[in-house]
Amino acid sequence: MSGIMVKNITKKFGDFVAVNNVSFDVREGELAALLGPSGSGKSTLLRVIAGLENPDMGQIFLTGKDVTPLRTQKRNVGFVFQHYALFKHMTVEKNIAFGLEIQKKDKKEIKQKVEELIDLVKLNGYNKHYPSQLSGGQRQRVALARALATEPKVLLLDEPFGSLDAKVRKNLAQWIRDLHSRVNVTSVFVTHDQNEAIEISDKIIVINRGKVEQIGNATDVYEHPKSKFVASFVGNVNVINANIKKNYIVITGTKEKIQFKEKTGINFQNIVLLIRPEDIIIKDNSTEDTVPCIINGIYYRGSFYEVDLKVGTNNVKSLVPKENFFKFEWQKGEKVYVRFRKFKIFEASEGHKKVHEMLKQLGYIE
Protein backbone atom coordinates (compact mmCIF):
# COMPACT_ATOMS: atom_id res chain seq x y z
CA MET A 1 0.00 0.00 0.00
CA SER A 2 1.07 3.56 -0.47
CA GLY A 3 0.98 6.32 2.11
CA ILE A 4 2.56 5.76 5.51
CA MET A 5 2.63 2.56 7.49
CA VAL A 6 3.95 2.51 11.04
CA LYS A 7 4.47 -1.01 12.31
CA ASN A 8 5.11 -1.92 15.97
CA ILE A 9 7.33 1.07 16.62
CA THR A 10 8.95 1.27 20.05
CA LYS A 11 11.33 4.04 21.07
CA LYS A 12 13.04 4.27 24.44
CA PHE A 13 15.15 7.03 25.95
CA GLY A 14 17.11 5.20 28.61
CA ASP A 15 14.46 3.63 30.82
CA PHE A 16 11.70 5.87 29.58
CA VAL A 17 9.49 4.33 26.90
CA ALA A 18 8.46 7.27 24.74
CA VAL A 19 6.67 5.25 22.07
CA ASN A 20 5.31 1.84 22.99
CA ASN A 21 4.56 -0.62 20.21
CA VAL A 22 2.62 1.79 18.01
CA SER A 23 1.07 0.78 14.69
CA PHE A 24 -1.16 2.72 12.33
CA ASP A 25 -1.36 3.64 8.70
CA VAL A 26 -2.24 6.72 6.74
CA ARG A 27 -3.65 6.25 3.25
CA GLU A 28 -2.24 8.09 0.28
CA GLY A 29 -3.41 11.67 0.16
CA GLU A 30 -4.84 11.55 3.67
CA LEU A 31 -4.27 14.27 6.27
CA ALA A 32 -3.85 12.61 9.64
CA ALA A 33 -3.48 14.15 13.08
CA LEU A 34 -1.39 12.69 15.88
CA LEU A 35 -3.30 14.01 18.86
CA GLY A 36 -2.14 13.74 22.44
CA PRO A 37 -1.10 15.69 25.52
CA SER A 38 2.47 16.98 25.78
CA GLY A 39 4.91 14.22 26.61
CA SER A 40 2.66 11.57 25.08
CA GLY A 41 5.32 10.58 22.54
CA LYS A 42 3.60 12.02 19.47
CA SER A 43 6.52 14.25 18.42
CA THR A 44 8.98 11.41 18.96
CA LEU A 45 6.85 9.25 16.71
CA LEU A 46 6.92 11.90 14.00
CA ARG A 47 10.70 12.15 14.31
CA VAL A 48 10.97 8.38 14.01
CA ILE A 49 8.98 8.51 10.78
CA ALA A 50 11.34 11.21 9.47
CA GLY A 51 14.40 9.23 10.54
CA LEU A 52 15.57 11.86 13.02
CA GLU A 53 15.22 9.28 15.77
CA ASN A 54 16.06 5.62 15.49
CA PRO A 55 13.37 3.21 16.70
CA ASP A 56 14.37 0.42 19.09
CA MET A 57 11.86 -1.85 17.41
CA GLY A 58 9.49 -1.85 14.48
CA GLN A 59 9.40 -0.64 10.91
CA ILE A 60 8.37 2.39 8.92
CA PHE A 61 7.00 2.02 5.40
CA LEU A 62 6.70 5.01 3.11
CA THR A 63 4.77 4.47 -0.14
CA GLY A 64 5.01 0.74 0.44
CA LYS A 65 8.78 0.67 0.88
CA ASP A 66 10.53 -0.22 4.14
CA VAL A 67 12.59 2.89 4.93
CA THR A 68 13.69 1.86 8.44
CA PRO A 69 17.33 1.30 7.41
CA LEU A 70 17.44 4.51 5.32
CA ARG A 71 19.09 7.70 6.47
CA THR A 72 16.93 10.79 6.92
CA GLN A 73 18.48 12.32 3.80
CA LYS A 74 17.30 9.41 1.66
CA ARG A 75 13.70 9.19 2.88
CA ASN A 76 12.40 12.14 0.90
CA VAL A 77 10.02 13.38 3.54
CA GLY A 78 8.99 16.98 4.06
CA PHE A 79 9.18 18.15 7.66
CA VAL A 80 7.82 21.37 9.14
CA PHE A 81 9.39 22.05 12.53
CA GLN A 82 7.51 23.45 15.47
CA HIS A 83 9.67 26.56 15.59
CA TYR A 84 10.05 26.50 11.80
CA ALA A 85 13.86 25.97 11.87
CA LEU A 86 14.28 28.36 8.95
CA PHE A 87 17.87 29.06 7.95
CA LYS A 88 18.27 32.48 9.53
CA HIS A 89 21.10 33.57 7.28
CA MET A 90 19.19 32.83 4.06
CA THR A 91 16.45 34.78 2.32
CA VAL A 92 12.97 33.33 1.78
CA GLU A 93 13.83 32.13 -1.72
CA LYS A 94 17.18 30.67 -0.62
CA ASN A 95 15.42 28.78 2.14
CA ILE A 96 12.91 27.31 -0.27
CA ALA A 97 15.59 26.49 -2.84
CA PHE A 98 17.87 24.72 -0.33
CA GLY A 99 16.59 21.18 -0.85
CA LEU A 100 16.63 21.59 -4.63
CA GLU A 101 20.18 22.91 -4.58
CA ILE A 102 21.27 19.91 -2.55
CA GLN A 103 19.74 17.75 -5.28
CA LYS A 104 21.86 19.75 -7.77
CA LYS A 105 18.82 20.67 -9.85
CA ASP A 106 19.12 22.94 -12.85
CA LYS A 107 19.22 26.63 -11.86
CA LYS A 108 16.36 27.59 -14.12
CA GLU A 109 14.24 24.78 -12.80
CA ILE A 110 14.96 25.80 -9.21
CA LYS A 111 14.01 29.38 -9.91
CA GLN A 112 10.76 28.37 -11.51
CA LYS A 113 9.88 25.97 -8.72
CA VAL A 114 10.65 28.57 -6.03
CA GLU A 115 8.41 31.10 -7.78
CA GLU A 116 5.62 28.55 -7.95
CA LEU A 117 5.92 27.77 -4.26
CA ILE A 118 6.09 31.42 -3.22
CA ASP A 119 2.92 31.90 -5.18
CA LEU A 120 1.35 28.85 -3.55
CA VAL A 121 2.04 30.07 -0.01
CA LYS A 122 1.11 33.63 -0.98
CA LEU A 123 4.42 35.24 -0.09
CA ASN A 124 4.84 37.14 -3.35
CA GLY A 125 7.18 40.08 -2.89
CA TYR A 126 8.89 38.52 0.10
CA ASN A 127 11.53 36.67 -1.95
CA LYS A 128 14.46 38.68 -0.58
CA HIS A 129 13.27 38.94 3.01
CA TYR A 130 15.12 37.23 5.85
CA PRO A 131 13.20 35.08 8.34
CA SER A 132 13.71 37.71 11.06
CA GLN A 133 11.74 40.18 8.94
CA LEU A 134 8.66 37.95 8.73
CA SER A 135 5.73 37.40 11.07
CA GLY A 136 5.08 34.02 12.69
CA GLY A 137 2.45 33.02 10.16
CA GLN A 138 4.68 34.02 7.25
CA ARG A 139 7.58 32.01 8.64
CA GLN A 140 5.30 29.05 8.97
CA ARG A 141 4.39 29.35 5.31
CA VAL A 142 8.05 29.59 4.26
CA ALA A 143 8.76 26.44 6.26
CA LEU A 144 5.90 24.74 4.46
CA ALA A 145 7.08 25.86 1.04
CA ARG A 146 10.62 24.70 1.85
CA ALA A 147 9.31 21.29 2.87
CA LEU A 148 7.19 20.98 -0.27
CA ALA A 149 9.95 22.09 -2.66
CA THR A 150 11.54 18.68 -3.05
CA GLU A 151 8.12 17.16 -3.77
CA PRO A 152 8.27 14.78 -0.82
CA LYS A 153 6.30 11.57 -0.70
CA VAL A 154 4.96 12.49 2.71
CA LEU A 155 4.70 15.73 4.66
CA LEU A 156 5.24 15.73 8.43
CA LEU A 157 4.29 18.73 10.56
CA ASP A 158 5.33 19.06 14.21
CA GLU A 159 2.84 21.24 16.12
CA PRO A 160 2.51 23.40 13.00
CA PHE A 161 0.38 26.04 14.70
CA GLY A 162 1.81 25.70 18.18
CA SER A 163 3.69 28.99 18.27
CA LEU A 164 1.07 31.18 16.61
CA ASP A 165 -1.58 33.30 18.27
CA ALA A 166 -5.18 32.11 18.24
CA LYS A 167 -6.48 34.12 15.31
CA VAL A 168 -3.56 33.41 12.93
CA ARG A 169 -3.70 29.80 14.01
CA LYS A 170 -7.32 29.42 12.99
CA ASN A 171 -6.80 31.01 9.55
CA LEU A 172 -3.66 29.04 8.86
CA ALA A 173 -5.26 25.75 9.89
CA GLN A 174 -8.07 26.30 7.42
CA TRP A 175 -5.56 27.37 4.80
CA ILE A 176 -3.51 24.20 5.31
CA ARG A 177 -6.69 22.16 4.90
CA ASP A 178 -7.31 23.87 1.54
CA LEU A 179 -3.68 23.57 0.54
CA HIS A 180 -3.73 19.89 1.35
CA SER A 181 -6.71 19.27 -0.87
CA ARG A 182 -4.83 21.05 -3.67
CA VAL A 183 -1.36 19.49 -3.25
CA ASN A 184 -2.77 16.24 -1.95
CA VAL A 185 0.40 14.91 -0.37
CA THR A 186 0.06 12.31 2.38
CA SER A 187 0.46 14.32 5.58
CA VAL A 188 0.75 13.76 9.30
CA PHE A 189 0.66 16.57 11.79
CA VAL A 190 1.24 16.53 15.51
CA THR A 191 -1.01 18.57 17.78
CA HIS A 192 -2.17 18.78 21.36
CA ASP A 193 -5.20 20.83 20.36
CA GLN A 194 -8.31 18.67 19.83
CA ASN A 195 -10.11 21.46 17.96
CA GLU A 196 -7.29 21.66 15.43
CA ALA A 197 -7.36 17.90 14.95
CA ILE A 198 -11.14 17.80 14.57
CA GLU A 199 -11.22 20.78 12.21
CA ILE A 200 -8.70 19.80 9.61
CA SER A 201 -7.82 16.12 9.65
CA ASP A 202 -9.27 13.13 7.81
CA LYS A 203 -8.05 10.79 10.47
CA ILE A 204 -7.16 11.26 14.12
CA ILE A 205 -4.69 9.04 15.95
CA VAL A 206 -5.05 9.66 19.68
CA ILE A 207 -1.87 8.92 21.59
CA ASN A 208 -1.37 8.75 25.33
CA ARG A 209 1.74 7.66 27.25
CA GLY A 210 3.34 6.30 24.10
CA LYS A 211 0.39 4.14 23.14
CA VAL A 212 -2.36 4.49 20.57
CA GLU A 213 -5.70 5.01 22.33
CA GLN A 214 -7.94 5.24 19.32
CA ILE A 215 -7.77 5.73 15.56
CA GLY A 216 -10.71 7.12 13.64
CA ASN A 217 -12.23 10.18 12.04
CA ALA A 218 -13.38 13.21 14.02
CA THR A 219 -16.92 11.89 14.57
CA ASP A 220 -15.66 8.51 15.74
CA VAL A 221 -13.31 10.00 18.25
CA TYR A 222 -15.75 12.55 19.59
CA GLU A 223 -18.97 10.55 19.56
CA HIS A 224 -17.63 7.07 20.22
CA PRO A 225 -14.55 7.36 22.41
CA LYS A 226 -13.03 3.98 23.09
CA SER A 227 -11.49 4.90 26.41
CA LYS A 228 -11.94 7.23 29.32
CA PHE A 229 -8.82 9.07 28.21
CA VAL A 230 -10.12 9.74 24.70
CA ALA A 231 -13.49 10.86 26.00
CA SER A 232 -11.96 13.34 28.40
CA PHE A 233 -9.13 14.53 26.15
CA VAL A 234 -11.22 15.14 23.04
CA GLY A 235 -13.84 17.69 23.98
CA ASN A 236 -15.27 18.54 27.39
CA VAL A 237 -16.87 15.82 29.43
CA ASN A 238 -18.65 15.38 32.76
CA VAL A 239 -17.63 12.51 35.00
CA ILE A 240 -20.36 11.05 37.22
CA ASN A 241 -19.64 8.33 39.77
CA ALA A 242 -22.21 5.58 39.96
CA ASN A 243 -22.89 1.89 40.64
CA ILE A 244 -24.79 -0.69 38.62
CA LYS A 245 -27.55 -2.51 40.51
CA LYS A 246 -29.52 -5.08 38.62
CA ASN A 247 -31.23 -3.18 35.84
CA TYR A 248 -30.34 0.26 37.02
CA ILE A 249 -27.54 2.72 37.19
CA VAL A 250 -27.53 4.36 40.64
CA ILE A 251 -25.76 7.70 40.87
CA THR A 252 -23.55 8.01 43.94
CA GLY A 253 -25.10 10.16 46.65
CA THR A 254 -28.69 9.84 45.41
CA LYS A 255 -31.32 7.19 45.27
CA GLU A 256 -32.01 8.08 41.69
CA LYS A 257 -31.89 5.32 39.16
CA ILE A 258 -31.54 5.28 35.43
CA GLN A 259 -32.96 2.26 33.81
CA PHE A 260 -30.97 0.28 31.26
CA LYS A 261 -32.56 -0.18 27.90
CA GLU A 262 -32.33 -3.90 28.31
CA LYS A 263 -32.43 -6.05 31.40
CA THR A 264 -28.87 -6.88 32.39
CA GLY A 265 -29.17 -8.48 35.76
CA ILE A 266 -25.58 -7.56 36.70
CA ASN A 267 -24.27 -5.71 39.71
CA PHE A 268 -21.17 -3.61 39.64
CA GLN A 269 -19.60 -1.11 42.02
CA ASN A 270 -17.62 2.01 41.06
CA ILE A 271 -18.30 2.87 37.50
CA VAL A 272 -18.26 6.29 35.85
CA LEU A 273 -20.65 7.82 33.37
CA LEU A 274 -19.04 10.17 30.86
CA ILE A 275 -21.46 12.72 29.48
CA ARG A 276 -20.79 15.67 27.15
CA PRO A 277 -22.19 18.98 28.52
CA GLU A 278 -24.47 19.35 25.50
CA ASP A 279 -25.97 15.91 26.24
CA ILE A 280 -27.30 16.96 29.64
CA ILE A 281 -30.81 18.24 29.07
CA ILE A 282 -32.45 20.28 31.83
CA LYS A 283 -36.17 19.85 32.38
CA ASP A 284 -38.76 21.42 34.65
CA ASN A 285 -40.56 18.28 35.65
CA SER A 286 -39.71 14.73 36.44
CA THR A 287 -40.25 11.91 33.96
CA GLU A 288 -39.17 8.31 33.91
CA ASP A 289 -35.66 8.95 32.54
CA THR A 290 -34.75 12.04 34.58
CA VAL A 291 -32.71 12.60 37.69
CA PRO A 292 -33.36 15.49 40.14
CA CYS A 293 -30.63 18.05 40.76
CA ILE A 294 -29.91 21.56 42.05
CA ILE A 295 -28.71 24.53 39.96
CA ASN A 296 -25.45 25.75 41.49
CA GLY A 297 -24.58 28.53 39.07
CA ILE A 298 -25.56 30.09 35.76
CA TYR A 299 -23.02 31.71 33.44
CA TYR A 300 -23.65 33.66 30.27
CA ARG A 301 -21.38 32.44 27.47
CA GLY A 302 -22.62 34.39 24.46
CA SER A 303 -24.47 31.96 22.22
CA PHE A 304 -25.39 29.66 25.08
CA TYR A 305 -25.62 29.40 28.83
CA GLU A 306 -23.40 27.25 30.97
CA VAL A 307 -25.26 25.80 33.96
CA ASP A 308 -23.51 24.21 36.96
CA LEU A 309 -25.55 21.40 38.48
CA LYS A 310 -25.23 19.17 41.49
CA VAL A 311 -26.39 15.61 40.91
CA GLY A 312 -26.00 13.66 44.13
CA THR A 313 -22.38 14.25 45.09
CA ASN A 314 -21.32 15.03 41.52
CA ASN A 315 -20.77 18.50 40.08
CA VAL A 316 -21.63 18.65 36.38
CA LYS A 317 -21.86 21.28 33.68
CA SER A 318 -24.61 21.57 31.11
CA LEU A 319 -24.70 23.71 27.98
CA VAL A 320 -28.12 25.20 27.34
CA PRO A 321 -29.01 26.97 24.09
CA LYS A 322 -30.18 30.56 24.68
CA GLU A 323 -33.75 30.03 23.52
CA ASN A 324 -34.31 27.09 25.90
CA PHE A 325 -32.90 29.08 28.73
CA PHE A 326 -35.18 32.05 28.12
CA LYS A 327 -38.20 29.74 27.93
CA PHE A 328 -37.74 28.50 31.49
CA GLU A 329 -35.80 31.33 33.24
CA TRP A 330 -34.13 29.05 35.76
CA GLN A 331 -32.65 30.56 38.92
CA LYS A 332 -29.67 29.63 41.00
CA GLY A 333 -30.67 27.21 43.79
CA GLU A 334 -33.71 25.95 41.89
CA LYS A 335 -34.50 22.26 41.84
CA VAL A 336 -34.71 20.87 38.30
CA TYR A 337 -34.47 17.54 36.51
CA VAL A 338 -31.93 16.38 33.98
CA ARG A 339 -32.02 13.79 31.29
CA PHE A 340 -28.81 12.24 29.98
CA ARG A 341 -29.29 12.14 26.25
CA LYS A 342 -26.20 10.06 25.64
CA PHE A 343 -23.46 8.71 27.88
CA LYS A 344 -20.67 6.22 28.02
CA ILE A 345 -19.94 3.85 30.87
CA PHE A 346 -16.40 3.08 31.94
CA GLU A 347 -14.95 1.41 34.95
CA ALA A 348 -13.70 3.89 37.54
CA SER A 349 -10.62 1.75 38.01
CA GLU A 350 -9.22 -0.41 35.30
CA GLY A 351 -8.80 -4.16 35.28
CA HIS A 352 -12.38 -5.43 35.48
CA LYS A 353 -12.66 -7.42 32.32
CA LYS A 354 -16.03 -8.96 33.15
CA VAL A 355 -18.12 -5.84 33.34
CA HIS A 356 -16.25 -4.48 30.38
CA GLU A 357 -17.29 -7.39 28.21
CA MET A 358 -20.88 -7.18 29.34
CA LEU A 359 -21.20 -3.48 28.78
CA LYS A 360 -19.64 -3.95 25.41
CA GLN A 361 -22.23 -6.48 24.45
CA LEU A 362 -24.94 -4.06 25.53
CA GLY A 363 -23.45 -1.38 23.36
CA TYR A 364 -22.49 1.00 26.15
CA ILE A 365 -18.84 0.89 25.24
CA GLU A 366 -17.02 -0.10 22.11
Binding site: G51, L52, H83, L86, H89, F98, I102, A149
Partner: protein, 279 residues
Protein backbone atom coordinates in the same frame (compact mmCIF):
# COMPACT_ATOMS: atom_id res chain seq x y z
CA UNK B 1 1.74 74.76 47.00
CA UNK B 2 4.69 76.77 45.80
CA UNK B 3 6.88 75.30 48.48
CA UNK B 4 6.16 71.80 47.34
CA UNK B 5 7.24 72.34 43.75
CA UNK B 6 10.41 74.00 45.00
CA UNK B 7 11.22 70.96 47.05
CA UNK B 8 10.77 68.66 44.10
CA UNK B 9 13.00 70.85 41.99
CA UNK B 10 15.74 70.85 44.57
CA UNK B 11 15.63 67.08 44.86
CA UNK B 12 15.77 66.76 41.12
CA UNK B 13 18.74 69.13 40.93
CA UNK B 14 20.60 67.11 43.54
CA UNK B 15 19.98 63.99 41.54
CA UNK B 16 21.39 65.64 38.42
CA UNK B 17 24.51 66.86 40.22
CA UNK B 18 25.21 63.39 41.57
CA UNK B 19 24.90 61.96 38.12
CA UNK B 20 27.22 64.50 36.51
CA UNK B 21 29.82 64.17 39.25
CA UNK B 22 29.90 60.43 38.64
CA UNK B 23 30.12 60.91 34.89
CA UNK B 24 32.97 63.41 35.22
CA UNK B 25 34.93 61.20 37.59
CA UNK B 26 34.60 58.24 35.24
CA UNK B 27 35.53 60.36 32.22
CA UNK B 28 38.55 61.80 33.96
CA UNK B 29 39.71 58.34 35.01
CA UNK B 30 39.20 57.09 31.49
CA UNK B 31 41.19 59.91 29.93
CA UNK B 32 44.07 59.59 32.36
CA UNK B 33 44.19 55.83 31.96
CA UNK B 34 43.53 55.31 28.27
CA UNK B 35 43.61 58.49 26.21
CA UNK B 36 46.62 60.34 27.65
CA UNK B 37 49.00 57.39 27.18
CA UNK B 38 47.84 57.06 23.58
CA UNK B 39 48.48 60.71 22.88
CA UNK B 40 51.80 60.45 24.72
CA UNK B 41 53.19 57.78 22.48
CA UNK B 42 52.23 59.67 19.31
CA UNK B 43 53.88 62.85 20.59
CA UNK B 44 57.00 61.03 21.69
CA UNK B 45 57.41 59.37 18.33
CA UNK B 46 57.10 62.59 16.38
CA UNK B 47 59.43 64.43 18.72
CA UNK B 48 62.16 62.47 17.05
CA UNK B 49 62.85 63.59 13.53
CA UNK B 50 60.89 61.77 10.84
CA UNK B 51 64.13 60.72 9.18
CA UNK B 52 65.29 58.90 12.31
CA UNK B 53 61.97 57.09 12.46
CA UNK B 54 62.00 55.98 8.86
CA UNK B 55 65.60 54.86 9.03
CA UNK B 56 65.03 52.90 12.21
CA UNK B 57 61.91 51.33 10.78
CA UNK B 58 63.55 50.35 7.53
CA UNK B 59 66.53 48.72 9.22
CA UNK B 60 66.78 45.05 8.26
CA UNK B 61 66.31 43.93 11.85
CA UNK B 62 63.04 45.84 12.16
CA UNK B 63 61.72 44.73 8.79
CA UNK B 64 62.62 41.16 9.61
CA UNK B 65 60.87 41.43 12.96
CA UNK B 66 57.66 42.74 11.43
CA UNK B 67 57.65 40.05 8.75
CA UNK B 68 58.20 37.38 11.37
CA UNK B 69 55.25 38.70 13.39
CA UNK B 70 53.07 38.63 10.28
CA UNK B 71 54.15 35.06 9.47
CA UNK B 72 53.53 33.76 12.99
CA UNK B 73 50.17 35.53 13.20
CA UNK B 74 49.12 34.11 9.85
CA UNK B 75 50.00 30.53 10.77
CA UNK B 76 48.51 30.80 14.26
CA UNK B 77 45.25 32.25 12.97
CA UNK B 78 44.80 29.50 10.39
CA UNK B 79 45.57 26.65 12.77
CA UNK B 80 43.53 28.02 15.64
CA UNK B 81 40.57 28.86 13.42
CA UNK B 82 40.38 25.27 12.25
CA UNK B 83 40.97 23.66 15.64
CA UNK B 84 38.94 26.31 17.46
CA UNK B 85 35.93 25.58 15.25
CA UNK B 86 36.34 21.85 15.75
CA UNK B 87 36.61 22.26 19.53
CA UNK B 88 33.55 24.51 19.55
CA UNK B 89 31.49 21.98 17.59
CA UNK B 90 32.57 19.18 19.90
CA UNK B 91 31.77 21.11 23.09
CA UNK B 92 28.53 22.62 21.83
CA UNK B 93 27.01 19.61 20.11
CA UNK B 94 28.41 16.48 21.73
CA UNK B 95 28.06 14.96 25.15
CA UNK B 96 30.72 12.81 26.74
CA UNK B 97 32.40 12.13 30.06
CA UNK B 98 34.76 14.84 31.27
CA UNK B 99 33.35 17.43 28.87
CA UNK B 100 32.79 20.07 31.55
CA UNK B 101 36.32 19.69 32.83
CA UNK B 102 37.89 19.90 29.38
CA UNK B 103 35.76 22.87 28.44
CA UNK B 104 36.91 24.86 31.44
CA UNK B 105 40.47 23.78 30.67
CA UNK B 106 40.27 25.70 27.38
CA UNK B 107 40.29 28.88 29.48
CA UNK B 108 43.67 28.08 30.99
CA UNK B 109 45.69 30.12 28.46
CA UNK B 110 43.74 33.20 29.61
CA UNK B 111 44.53 32.55 33.24
CA UNK B 112 48.14 31.49 33.02
CA UNK B 113 51.11 33.89 32.93
CA UNK B 114 52.67 34.12 29.46
CA UNK B 115 56.06 33.54 31.05
CA UNK B 116 54.84 30.33 32.67
CA UNK B 117 53.30 29.34 29.33
CA UNK B 118 56.59 29.84 27.52
CA UNK B 119 58.37 28.00 30.30
CA UNK B 120 56.06 24.99 29.92
CA UNK B 121 56.91 24.75 26.24
CA UNK B 122 60.65 25.13 26.87
CA UNK B 123 60.39 22.13 29.18
CA UNK B 124 58.19 20.03 26.90
CA UNK B 125 59.81 20.91 23.56
CA UNK B 126 63.36 21.72 24.74
CA UNK B 127 66.28 19.38 23.92
CA UNK B 128 65.64 17.37 27.10
CA UNK B 129 61.85 17.48 26.94
CA UNK B 130 59.47 14.57 26.30
CA UNK B 131 58.58 15.69 22.81
CA UNK B 132 61.56 17.94 22.16
CA UNK B 133 64.15 15.19 22.59
CA UNK B 134 62.47 13.17 19.85
CA UNK B 135 62.50 16.13 17.45
CA UNK B 136 66.10 16.98 18.34
CA UNK B 137 67.14 13.43 17.53
CA UNK B 138 65.76 14.12 14.07
CA UNK B 139 67.60 17.43 13.97
CA UNK B 140 64.49 19.58 14.18
CA UNK B 141 64.84 22.52 16.54
CA UNK B 142 61.65 23.75 18.16
CA UNK B 143 62.73 25.94 21.05
CA UNK B 144 64.70 29.08 20.09
CA UNK B 145 63.28 28.57 16.60
CA UNK B 146 60.15 29.37 14.61
CA UNK B 147 58.12 26.21 15.50
CA UNK B 148 58.37 26.98 19.21
CA UNK B 149 57.27 30.57 18.67
CA UNK B 150 54.28 29.38 16.69
CA UNK B 151 53.38 26.82 19.35
CA UNK B 152 53.60 29.47 22.09
CA UNK B 153 51.37 31.80 20.06
CA UNK B 154 48.92 28.95 19.42
CA UNK B 155 48.70 28.36 23.17
CA UNK B 156 48.00 31.94 24.20
CA UNK B 157 45.39 32.40 21.44
CA UNK B 158 43.79 28.95 21.73
CA UNK B 159 40.59 29.98 23.55
CA UNK B 160 39.51 32.93 21.37
CA UNK B 161 37.83 31.21 18.40
CA UNK B 162 36.38 28.32 20.40
CA UNK B 163 35.03 30.53 23.19
CA UNK B 164 33.36 32.89 20.73
CA UNK B 165 31.64 30.16 18.73
CA UNK B 166 30.47 27.82 21.50
CA UNK B 167 27.64 30.09 22.76
CA UNK B 168 26.59 30.90 19.18
CA UNK B 169 26.36 27.21 18.34
CA UNK B 170 24.50 26.45 21.58
CA UNK B 171 21.94 29.13 20.90
CA UNK B 172 21.68 28.03 17.30
CA UNK B 173 20.51 24.61 18.46
CA UNK B 174 19.99 21.54 16.37
CA UNK B 175 16.72 22.28 14.55
CA UNK B 176 18.26 23.94 11.48
CA UNK B 177 20.71 21.04 11.17
CA UNK B 178 17.80 18.63 11.23
CA UNK B 179 15.88 20.68 8.68
CA UNK B 180 18.88 20.49 6.33
CA UNK B 181 19.22 16.77 7.04
CA UNK B 182 15.61 16.17 5.99
CA UNK B 183 16.13 18.20 2.83
CA UNK B 184 18.86 15.74 1.92
CA UNK B 185 22.06 17.55 2.94
CA UNK B 186 25.08 15.52 4.06
CA UNK B 187 27.02 16.34 7.26
CA UNK B 188 29.66 18.11 5.20
CA UNK B 189 27.06 20.14 3.29
CA UNK B 190 25.32 21.03 6.55
CA UNK B 191 28.60 22.36 7.95
CA UNK B 192 29.38 24.53 4.93
CA UNK B 193 25.88 25.70 4.05
CA UNK B 194 24.15 25.97 7.43
CA UNK B 195 26.55 25.91 10.38
CA UNK B 196 29.40 28.02 9.02
CA UNK B 197 27.24 30.88 7.68
CA UNK B 198 25.45 31.19 10.98
CA UNK B 199 28.63 31.34 13.05
CA UNK B 200 30.54 33.53 10.63
CA UNK B 201 30.45 36.73 12.67
CA UNK B 202 31.29 34.95 15.88
CA UNK B 203 34.16 33.37 13.98
CA UNK B 204 35.26 36.73 12.59
CA UNK B 205 35.24 38.15 16.10
CA UNK B 206 37.31 35.26 17.43
CA UNK B 207 39.76 35.58 14.54
CA UNK B 208 40.33 39.31 15.06
CA UNK B 209 40.98 38.69 18.75
CA UNK B 210 43.43 35.96 17.76
CA UNK B 211 45.20 38.32 15.38
CA UNK B 212 45.43 41.06 18.00
CA UNK B 213 46.84 38.72 20.59
CA UNK B 214 49.28 37.07 18.16
CA UNK B 215 50.70 40.41 17.10
CA UNK B 216 50.95 41.67 20.64
CA UNK B 217 52.20 38.51 22.38
CA UNK B 218 55.44 39.14 24.18
CA UNK B 219 56.18 37.07 27.29
CA UNK B 220 55.53 33.58 25.98
CA UNK B 221 57.31 34.21 22.68
CA UNK B 222 60.21 35.88 24.49
CA UNK B 223 60.84 32.77 26.59
CA UNK B 224 60.70 30.26 23.73
CA UNK B 225 62.48 32.37 21.10
CA UNK B 226 65.61 33.63 22.77
CA UNK B 227 65.00 36.89 20.85
CA UNK B 228 67.84 36.50 18.40
CA UNK B 229 68.13 39.52 16.09
CA UNK B 230 67.23 38.80 12.46
CA UNK B 231 66.28 35.27 13.42
CA UNK B 232 63.74 34.83 16.16
CA UNK B 233 62.87 38.42 16.95
CA UNK B 234 59.24 39.46 16.46
CA UNK B 235 58.03 43.06 16.42
CA UNK B 236 57.28 43.17 20.15
CA UNK B 237 60.63 41.56 20.99
CA UNK B 238 62.35 44.09 18.70
CA UNK B 239 60.66 46.99 20.49
CA UNK B 240 61.72 45.64 23.85
CA UNK B 241 65.26 45.09 22.59
CA UNK B 242 65.58 48.61 21.25
CA UNK B 243 64.05 50.01 24.41
CA UNK B 244 66.55 48.27 26.67
CA UNK B 245 69.34 49.44 24.34
CA UNK B 246 68.04 52.99 24.90
CA UNK B 247 67.23 53.32 21.18
CA UNK B 248 64.06 55.25 21.98
CA UNK B 249 63.41 56.56 18.46
CA UNK B 250 63.35 53.06 17.05
CA UNK B 251 61.36 51.62 19.91
CA UNK B 252 58.71 54.32 19.89
CA UNK B 253 58.22 54.37 16.15
CA UNK B 254 57.78 50.60 16.06
CA UNK B 255 55.46 50.82 19.07
CA UNK B 256 53.41 53.49 17.30
CA UNK B 257 52.97 51.22 14.32
CA UNK B 258 51.81 48.37 16.52
CA UNK B 259 49.48 50.77 18.34
CA UNK B 260 48.02 51.81 14.99
CA UNK B 261 47.54 48.19 13.96
CA UNK B 262 45.85 47.54 17.31
CA UNK B 263 43.55 50.44 16.68
CA UNK B 264 42.53 49.06 13.29
CA UNK B 265 42.00 45.62 14.79
CA UNK B 266 39.93 47.16 17.57
CA UNK B 267 37.63 48.64 14.95
CA UNK B 268 37.38 45.29 13.19
CA UNK B 269 36.57 43.62 16.49
CA UNK B 270 33.81 46.06 17.18
CA UNK B 271 32.41 45.69 13.69
CA UNK B 272 32.37 41.90 14.04
CA UNK B 273 30.82 42.22 17.49
CA UNK B 274 28.00 44.36 16.15
CA UNK B 275 27.33 42.01 13.25
CA UNK B 276 27.41 39.08 15.62
CA UNK B 277 24.76 40.65 17.81
CA UNK B 278 22.55 41.44 14.85
CA UNK B 279 22.16 37.85 13.71
Amino acid sequence: MENKTNCVEIVRKQKQTGKWILISVVLLWFFVLIIFPLIGIVMETFKNAISVITSSLSSTASTHAFWLTILITFVAVIINTIFGTIMAIVFAKQNFKGKLFLESLIDLPFAVSPIVAGFMFVILFGPGGWIGSWFYSMNIKIIYALPGMIIATLFVTLPFVAKEIIPVLREFGIEQDEAALILGASQWQIFWKVTLPSIRWGLAYGVTLTIARSIGEFGAVLVVSGSIINKTQTATLRIHDQFTDLNYAGAFSAALILALISFIILNLIQYAQKRKERI
